[in-house]
Assembly symmetry: C3
Homo-oligomer: 402 residues x 3
């Protein structure tokens, strides 16, 4: 792809600050599709830091035609997203740090090869290997039937190729990079939910931010659900690794999780036959709705924090899948508008939100790699401060049965 | 693609008149696939008119890999078809004229991303935005189960990529252009229905013709259904726009349509909560079976006529979807072998036809843009003449319940 | 594709003998995908025989993007496989010899266009036209429901694009050629069955061997099923063509097959309304488990033998589909771990096998074209020798009802 052509296309997604370069990698509107593209900071005349951004088209197996965007900051993080898989984050690595996990699914599966309704609505599992996948927006949660239609596991966003993809690079230090994609869930007579899914990152740092704008393009109010399914394994997840968050209420997702309620916040080593335990959490926040959850390793010198706002994302699902490594040893920390029960239960229990015609709702999540004990301690302190002396309500039995 | 190569391939579809140039754009038989191709009349040595024909491959989102063929006649119509979507007509425009509509689905969705069985058989709605889509041929109509198999909404033809695509251009004035595609619905043990789907157009004119040849390649008789789902919005559809046709019988499709029976032939402005009303029509014809239906705007100076033969297409479905513009303000005029009830009802009521082994059945429909009052008046007169003093039977209650 | 690049990639699949050239045509691991590639023996410095190997990408219709590998030995066989369709063998031809058949499905259908769950689990029929397709490995057999999940007809392997494809050519006479593909059936929480599917062929000969390695990459034992669905038509199948095998037990698959039990081993000419009859066979073997089945023409001067081992593949399904040519006049000889009943029946009757974590199970089948009476006679003799004077148990009624 000709860079100047890409740069000459006016940004399709939404208004951006001045002094930034925009590169359009995909556009259904302008019929642009860049197969393979790479830029580095020196090409942009930036000399006080170094980064590269690359788009690659993958081949072979069920990843034929899937695209990934790899943002590399040698002194910070390397972040891999997939426009073909709904702007999901596939993997994040840095100095002895990794967000993500090793699923038995190794390929970046092209949604053309996925049937979400297969396996009784669990076809999503044939492509699930992301560090962060959006579960939503038309629906989310476990499979089930509503109004005769199957609500497939965790919805369609993660298996929807982005219609527009652009990269914005600030020309002013610290050269913030934004990767934006437009995910359309548009069906005649049904939802017309369009999400501008954005990741922003400042080179040389250990944090990045997801900032999504969900807009209802229909003339009718529509339900929406979203869970930011964020997944971690080694080196953060290990025996005696710890989950922390300011907690108002916790309950086990089902009977099996009930057995794990006593030590729900600590993790086991890879454990055969553990399968998975899920916990529903209502977090506390500060006065502005700000809250956070974190995972740190046993030595409390390495971790990840996930900051969000309970006005946008009032619930938190904790998914402990500490089965063996080959089965995908992983934990999911999932801020959302709801829990992972099937839509009909979420509706019954009042956790399905609506978006008005023309309305735009924003979601912002900040992921930070905690690179040392000090960083972990700071996050612990923040959690403690928000919790204060407020009670944790621990509900002993599942709040719903699927 | 090398034009001379394309021209050198012998026409795969069916015999054509002499003095014509054939360009093969797609051929599974000769393994030809032209990604991007364009020709204009001057390249063909034609100097007394001007037209262009172009094939483009679309990119991004769910239209990745979809092809469109755009036939442009600056003094007539611009017609866009999609070989990837079963030779559907996406859009037709001319001087202040447009056939087609604005669906919430904006992309020319590649069938690889469609699951027709999803949404309880209504997955078709995730790609529906055509000006004319063939509903058929193995089955058509609303979703339902027959013999344990799901009959998905409006069948598979519109989501079947053409196996052979060729363009024939007459070298003799008026230089008729034919765009032909072969749509195969071939399944082991099931249907082997193959349709040569043809559009023909004479540059500088305001009409075009669909001429399809459906052949049963199996050794057994097979059911077939076809509805030519032809869709119109502004500038033809507006408050007090009018539908006309010589009518023998009309009935409401369901209880909701029953409420609209009194003023079924006139249209509302975009109307919130209108949703859709559908009417089943048996048209009258002249002695040769010739009939027509038309839509004109309020001022009766702009319209479309659809001419067909009741021996081929005995029924007419009128779909009034005058909801808001964002929901897809549109009306469908759908000559067919049946109504839009699910196959089991159509069968029960005797509207499923059969095609014999080796038999070929033809369907011909002529679409004309009525560019002024005179053209509209002529069509009105034809309708009046066919109707004569014959009665309209208006059935007050739905003839079936889904 | 640059051959030297291909050759420089270390073999992804498994260790190979020395003195062989490896060409990697597809690799998800190394992100290699060769669209079109061809090599012949002279390029490899081989002068005492001649062969070519070619990979082509197919276009048009539902075969858009499908790849085939064509191995041509002018003095022996021409073998066409499809990596996109799970390394299935599409067709084999030689001097007046052909393995394979003419399905109404003519295209090498890209699995992106197949919904295996459609048609009540029989969507597989929309792509079925192979000479040999692996029915497995996560499940096989007729559609049905187990644990709420649909077991689609004959499983997913045949509709899974190969993740790694490589060609190994021995540099030492007789220059054995191996075409290997990796088929991954990997789903989070479900199977992680990976099969290295290999075909080997020695130029100028009339035999080839399938040698598969199925490995369970999960930490839990998993069910597996496999049927090598091997299909033949003219010139082998004709009126009074004969099936032979050393037989311990035979039973009709269903009531209809029961009617054909008397002359189950001979074939009819293309016969309208015959549809299909299926027979379940337990073969006898020699002391090492070696057995074979064969089909020969009426004159017993042309045939095919299929050699396998009952320790690997204890059952044999005989599929007689001698309906008319257009319906796909064909017989299937299918060595397998099970019969074609739906998984729940196979389980109930004890024919579902398990593979342990980390275990690799091998399957080897040798297909030989019997080019003359002598070759047919030799095979008949082998069958007779294995049968010896052991009884054939002919069960008169179906052993299960679907």
């Amino acid at each position: 792809m000709n860079k100047s052509l890409a740069a000459s296309v006016s940004p399709a997604l939404y208004s951006t600050k001045a002094n930034a370069r925009i590169f359009t990698l995909t556009s259904t509107e302008h019929n642009i599709e860049v197969a393979d593209w790479k830029i580095d900071s020196t090409q942009l005349g930036i000399i006080d830091t170094y980064f590269t951004i690359e788009q690659k088209t993958l081949h072979g197996g069920k990843q034929e035609g899937s695209k990934v965007i790899i943002l590399t900051s040698p002194n910070g993080l390397t972040i891999t997203l997939s426009p073909t898989r709904g702007m999901s984050i596939m993997n994040v690595t840095g100095k002895e740090m990794r967000f993500g996990w090793d699923s038995p699914v190794k390929e970046v599966v092209n949604p053309a090869f996925i049937n979400l309704e297969s396996r009784n609505g669990a076809g999503w599992l044939e492509g699930f290997n992301e560090m962060m996948v959006r579960c939503g927006f038309e629906w989310a949660g476990h499979p089930g039937i509503e109004n005769g239609e199957m609500r497939t596991l965790h919805g369609k966003a993660g298996n929807t190729p982005a219609s527009e993809v652009e990269i914005e690079i600030s020309e002013i230090a610290p050269y913030e990079i934004k990767v934006r994609g437009l995910i359309k869930e548009s069906t005649f007579k049904k939802a017309d939910l369009q999400t501008i899914a954005e990741l922003s990152y400042i080179p040389d740092t250990y944090s990045f931010t997801i900032h999504d704008h969900l807009t209802n393009h229909a003339d009718y109010p529509r339900d929406y659900q979203i869970m930011y399914h964020s997944n971690f394994s080694k080196p953060l997840l290990e025996k005696d690794a710890q989950f922390i968050a300011p907690i108002k209420e916790i309950s086990p997702f089902n009977d099996y999780a009930q057995k794990g309620l006593q030590d729900w916040a600590t993790y086991l080593e890879p454990t055969k036959n553990f399968d998975e335990m899920v916990f529903n959490i209502v977090p506390y926040s500060d006065a502005d709705g700000y809250t956070l959850a974190a995972l740190h390793n046993k030595d409390a010198n390495k971790g990840v924090s996930i900051e969000f706002n309970i006005n946008e994302l009032p619930y938190l699902t904790l998914w402990k899948n500490t089965d063996t490594e080959k089965q995908g040893y992983v934990t999911g920390i999932e801020p959302g508008t709801n829990y992972a029960y099937t839509t009909s239960i979420e509706r019954e229990q009042g956790r399905i939100r609506q978006i008005k015609p023309g309305q735009t709702i924003q979601f912002k999540i900040r992921y930070s790699a905690l690179m040392n004990r000090e960083a972990v301690d700071t996050v612990k302190e923040t959690v403690t401060n928000i919790q204060g002396n407020q009670n944790i309500t621990s509900i002993q039995t599942p709040i719903a049965e699927e």
